[in-house]
């Protein structure tokens, strides 16, 4: 029991000790597509678009914005749109990586999995199933455009 605990502790310490983004460091894209912008502003022109799980070099840090490069391509990205570590590879039922498009924030909202609904029925949790289905329906009623407008109005994310 002691060895796994020590390994787990060491892994956590290593994660905790990881430095925040700094020039010369690296970051990874975590969306289906990440735009490299001409300026550190959400309304700036996109110079290039980088696909999922690409490693980028950090050239400069300005507040919550990073100037990054991949090869000869350079541009600005809001730090919240990048990950410190390479995103975990998702695998489907066949064991092969799933399409990167499934990591897109624009992926269609999906209802309660039929097998989960069957689980609820098997356990006699009809009311709880109804609650979760209502939760999904009501949550999905808040559109991505509304979330984006909220961010802008509240000055959150790239609109800070």
């Amino acid at each position: 029991m002691k060895i796994p605990l020590l390994v787990a502790t060491a892994a956590l310490l290593a994660t905790s000790a990881q430095a925040a983004y700094s020039p010369g460091g690296t970051a990874y894209t975590k969306r289906f597509e990440t735009a490299l912008l001409a300026e550190p502003s959400p309304l700036a022109k996109a110079l290039a678009r980088i696909s999922y799980a690409h490693k980028l070099k950090i050239e400069e840090v300005r507040g919550a914005w990073l100037r990054v490069s991949e090869g000869k391509t350079t541009g600005w990205v809001f730090a919240g749109n990048l990950a410190e570590q390479k995103p975990a590879e998702n695998k489907g039922l066949d064991g092969l990586p799933v399409a990167a498009s499934e990591t897109s924030a624009t992926a269609a909202a999906r209802p309660l999995a039929p097998a989960a609904a069957d689980y609820a029925d098997r356990r006699g949790l009809a009311q709880a199933r109804s609650d979760v289905e209502w939760m999904e329906h009501t949550s999905d009623g808040v559109t991505n455009d509304q979330v984006q407008a909220f961010r802008q109005a509240q000055k959150k994310g790239e609109f800070q």
Partner: protein, 260 residues
């Protein structure tokens, strides 16, 4: 439960989900052959793909709603928690999940999450979150549990006990065995819900969620101190009734100290 066995069964259920769409009904028998190949690739948390995660997450979400009094069906509250929650989740390490947020009709003070993007906060905790910074801090902590796949690791942890053989090869289309496999799946879900409701995650896992959640709230533009201040408020309250406040989490004083 043996993790590989659980994942094999999960493969059956996920495959059945896919077949549900094709044939309009739950046909376990037709899914069994697919499950055999699933069993061969299911290894640890990496072997739990998006479809399997949806099945686990949906099942755990149903248990959470069933255990904590159902949901507060208030459209205004739902809109608030989903706007703040999705603002945060969009900058998490898994922005593409179907993120859903809701308030449980329970006056205990706690919050829960289920794999694939289900986040719940109790009415008791929601009422204590005085402003958006406090609410965001709580939601970000739960988002962190999902992005770090903490609940999934509960069923993946036993991988080493599986050895190198594929248990799926022992399965057949026999109805009696299929029933037994469903019972095994239910036990796997129970392992997760027992952790969420009774045992709690181990302290290091909670500290990790605190750290990831705080960083997520900060980069999104919410207060870096939101979680610490919220926990301090809860600590004052818990002096009178400690079992009612985050009863499945490490001592509040330890969490507050680590966030300073």
């Amino acid at each position: 439960m043996n993790a590989l066995r659980f994942l094999c069964i999960l493969g059956i259920l996920s495959a059945a989900s896919a077949l549900h769409g094709q044939f309009g009904g739950f046909d376990l028998g037709k899914a069994l052959d697919t499950a055999k190949s699933v069993g061969k690739v299911a290894k640890g948390v990496a072997g739990i793909g998006p479809e399997e995660e949806r099945v686990i997450g949906g099942s755990v979400a149903v248990e959470i709603a069933g255990t904590y009094g159902g949901l507060v069906r208030d459209e205004k509250i739902m809109r608030r928690v989903n706007l703040i929650g999705r603002t945060l989740a969009g900058f998490s390490d898994r922005p593409g999940l179907n993120w859903r947020f809701a308030v449980l009709a329970s006056d205990t003070v706690n919050a829960f999450s289920a794999p694939s993007g289900y986040v719940f906060i109790t009415r008791g905790l929601y009422r204590m979150a005085a402003d958006d910074d406090a609410l965001a801090a709580v939601l970000a902590h739960e988002i962190a549990h999902i992005t770090a796949r903490h609940a999934l690791k509960i069923v993946a942890r036993g991988e080493l006990f599986a050895g190198g053989s594929s248990l799926a090869t022992t399965y057949s289309g026999d109805a009696r065995k299929a029933q037994a496999q469903l019972q095994q799946f239910d036990l796997g879900v129970k392992e997760i819900t027992e952790t969420l409701f009774t045992k709690g995650f181990d302290p290091q896992t909670e500290y990790e969620a605190d750290r990831i959640g705080r960083d997520l709230a900060t980069v999104t533009g919410y207060s870096r101190d939101g979680l610490r201040l919220m926990l301090q408020r809860l600590e004052q309250r818990s002096a009178g009734d400690p079992k009612q406040v985050f009863s499945t989490h490490p001592p509040l004083a330890d969490r507050i100290k680590r966030l300073q």
